[in-house]
């Protein structure tokens, strides 16, 4: 069975890592020029569970955007599933994002005029999730983040943590192979945060590759691999 995630992604080599960054630099032309990432090398294998920590403004979100094909490295190579991403067309990139990658944005990015359910359904719109399954899967995802009593609420009427959980439900609804989460527990209390992490880890157990940016030490320590970014430079913690 081919998951929707197959679109545009193929691994030429069985052992190819999901993500391979080679000397990736992302600089924003100034003035003053900002080097948000400097010569980053990173390999993430399928099924890895990685947390990224680092001070504010160190380049974590930039890293996530590059990984998610939302941004392009200024210098360096990014191989995704063994494929050099700079060779992908704009449409291919969109298809990979939609089909294989799930995002939890730091700023959530929920549509204010759409219900919670619609916001989650939005993630099934462009990536070929079978129409008949969409609503069921969206409801199930919301159920798993404990929001099945808020299906028809507008995001504006939700608490910060609830919004965050909608964003999490949206990220997992299309069963991505790579989940990129930018502070997915930033607004959550310890219990809810733990529940969201449990959800992620269940999915991880099923083969999901997980990258989580966090300030929360407890969250970071649950990951198998931990990397630290400081001033755009990446170092792997033991």
């Amino acid at each position: 069975m081919i998951s929707p995630g197959a679109i545009g992604l193929s691994s030429s080599v069985e052992t190819a890592p999901v993500v391979e960054l080679i000397n990736v630099t992302r600089s924003f032309p100034g003035p003053p020029e900002v080097q948000a990432l400097r010569a980053v090398n990173l390999r993430i294998d399928a099924g890895d569970y990685l947390s990224i920590v680092g001070p504010s403004g160190s380049g974590k979100s930039t890293m996530l955007n590059v990984l998610g094909l939302l941004d392009r490295p200024s210098v360096g190579e990014y191989h995704l599933d063994g494929q050099l991403t700079s060779l992908l067309s704009e449409d291919d990139r969109a298809a990979v994002r939609g089909g294989s990658i799930g995002f939890v944005f730091q700023a959530f990015h929920l549509l204010p005029h759409r219900s919670v359910l619609d916001n989650v359904l939005l993630a099934t719109l462009y990536n070929g999730v079978p129409r008949a399954e969409r609503e069921h899967r969206a409801r199930a995802a919301l159920d798993r983040v404990g929001l099945n009593h808020r299906l028809n609420f507008l995001p504006g009427t939700l608490s910060g943590g609830e919004r965050q959980r909608v964003a999490v439900a949206r990220a997992v609804v299309s069963s991505p192979r790579l989940l990129l989460a930018d502070e997915p527990t930033g607004n959550l209390d310890a219990t809810t945060s733990g529940e969201v992490m449990n959800l992620f880890e269940e999915l991880h157990a099923d083969g999901l590759t997980l990258v989580i940016i966090t300030h929360d030490v407890a969250v970071a320590e649950r990951a198998q691999r931990r990397v630290r970014i400081a001033d755009g430079q990446l170092s792997e913690l033991a």
Binding site: I7, S10, A46, G47, G99, R114, R137, R144
Partner: protein
């Protein structure tokens, strides 16, 4: 498989994670599965027009008050176009119906007259007895018939032969003689019985037809019993009663007999006038050719009353009004289009976050562009529909108060509504293009 497993988890609420040991085994398999390159997405599961329309309608519906302001320009533009065309068509219909009715399709030819030395009017020409046949050969002539007043002198027309000199003098109806084809030439209708034919005419049969008013006055309303009337002491059989003569309503008050009979019995010297029914617009042509057909040697001796072809002045005035309104409509439409473009652009700017999100969720540039295009097309179409409806309404209301019959091509109304959609399409093109070219990362940073 992965999906099914994922689904298997779904009913359970958040619970403690299992040991993530299975991941290692699951992965190579998942990787293998994904070797397949071809997107195995069924067409029905792609992003389709129906999705597009739903997404666009949410975009439009999000700000109803703005929607009203946005459509206003288009509404006005389309409405003024519809009103302009509607009034042009209504007036044209009005003129055409008057034009059609009587005057425009009737030509009357009389022999010219001149005054002699003693100031007495004298005919300078005579209409030939076969004028009708001669003229009917001309292009544009539908029917032609001769008519002449028959001087009665002191002869009375009565229903019974009266020889009683003491009886009060009743006023006789006028006596007219016509050719058989005259009834049609002046658009009369037979109420009962029949009009005489050319046979009666050539034989000089003693038959008459009564105008409806004359028949009433004389007291005859049926002809199946072959009633007779007396002109002087000669008896004539009444074979029909006519009505509806628009052109020569004096026929209704008259007793009418065939020209041949009038010549034989009353010594009628010549016909008085030739009534010609023509096709619309043939007035000039017939007016030029008919006198020649009547007398090739001296066509100038006939006086011709032909309808003026539609007043040129009137036409040009109307054309001016149309142009002014059309230009106003076009300007309003242009403003409407700019309004839509402006608001769509504004909405693109406001919704960069949404654009970025959709791009992150797999929307292609095309998906984004078409969403904004559809939004502006729908706005334009909405404006077009409302404007068209308002325009039709205005035309109908004004026509009714003026007593005109409103004329408006249904295609004008529908076309105008569609024109609104086209305006939306054109207006949306630039903002949609802008929207689709925003880099996902810029879009995501731009909005919340």
């Amino acid at each position: 498989m992965k999906l099914q497993r994922w689904l298997a988890h779904l009913p359970t609420r958040l619970r403690f994670a299992r040991a993530p040991g299975k991941a290692a085994e699951a992965t190579p398999k998942a990787a293998l599965e994904n070797v397949a390159v071809a997107p195995a997405v069924k067409h029905s599961d792609r992003f389709l027009v129906q999705d597009l329309i739903i997404e666009a309608s949410f975009g439009i519906g999000a700000r109803p008050s703005r929607l009203i302001m946005t459509t206003l320009g288009t509404v006005l533009g389309i409405a003024s176009l519809v009103v302009t065309i509607g009034f042009a068509q209504t007036t044209a219909g009005q003129i055409a119906s008057q034009f059609d009715a009587v005057a425009a399709t009737q030509v009357v030819i009389e022999p010219g007259s001149s005054r002699d030395a003693r100031g007495k009017s004298q005919s300078t020409a005579r209409l030939p007895w076969d004028s009708g046949e001669r003229v009917e050969r001309l292009a544009g002539v539908e029917r032609a018939g001769l008519i002449a007043a028959v001087p009665l002198g002191d002869v009375a027309i009565t229903a019974v032969p009266v020889n009683d000199p003491s009886a009060a003098e009743t006023l006789s109806p006028p006596l007219l003689a016509t050719s058989a084809s005259l009834l049609e030439a002046v658009r009369g209708r037979v109420v009962t019985g029949r009009y005489f034919d050319s046979g009666h005419d050539t034989r000089g049969d003693r038959v008459v037809v009564l105008g409806a008013n004359a028949a009433e006055k004389i007291g005859i309303n049926r002809v199946d019993s072959q009633p007779s009337i007396f002109i002087g002491d000669r008896s004539y059989t009444v074979i029909g009663i006519i009505t509806g003569v628009e052109r020569r309503s004096d026929l209704l008050d008259s007793v009418i007999l065939p020209l041949g009979t009038a010549r034989a019995d009353f010594g009628l010297p010549s016909p008085d006038e030739l009534q010609i029914q023509i096709q619309t617009g043939a007035g000039d042509l017939v007016a030029r050719q008919a006198p020649i057909a009547l007398d090739p040697n001296a066509p100038e001796n006939f006086t011709v009353q032909a309808p003026a072809t539609k007043s040129e002045l009137q036409e040009s005035v109307q054309a001016d009004i149309n142009i002014v309104f059309l230009i106003l409509g076009a300007i309003a439409l242009l403003a409407g289009g700019l309004g839509i473009a402006n608001v769509t652009l504004l909405s693109v700017m406001e919704r960069v976050g949404e654009i970025g999100l959709r791009r992150a969720l797999g929307a292609t540039k095309r998906n984004i562009a078409s969403q904004f295009i559809v939004e502006s097309v729908v706005i334009g179409l909405l404006g077009g529909l409302i404007g068209s409806a308002l325009g039709v309404f205005a035309v109908v209301i004004v026509s009714l108060t003026q007593g005109w019959s409103p004329v408006l091509d249904i295609w004008v109304a529908l076309g105008a509504a569609l024109l609104g959609a086209v305006v939306g399409l054109v207006a949306g093109a630039y903002p949609a293009n802008r929207a689709s070219n925003i880099e996902p990362i810029t879009a995501l940073r731009g909005g919340t």
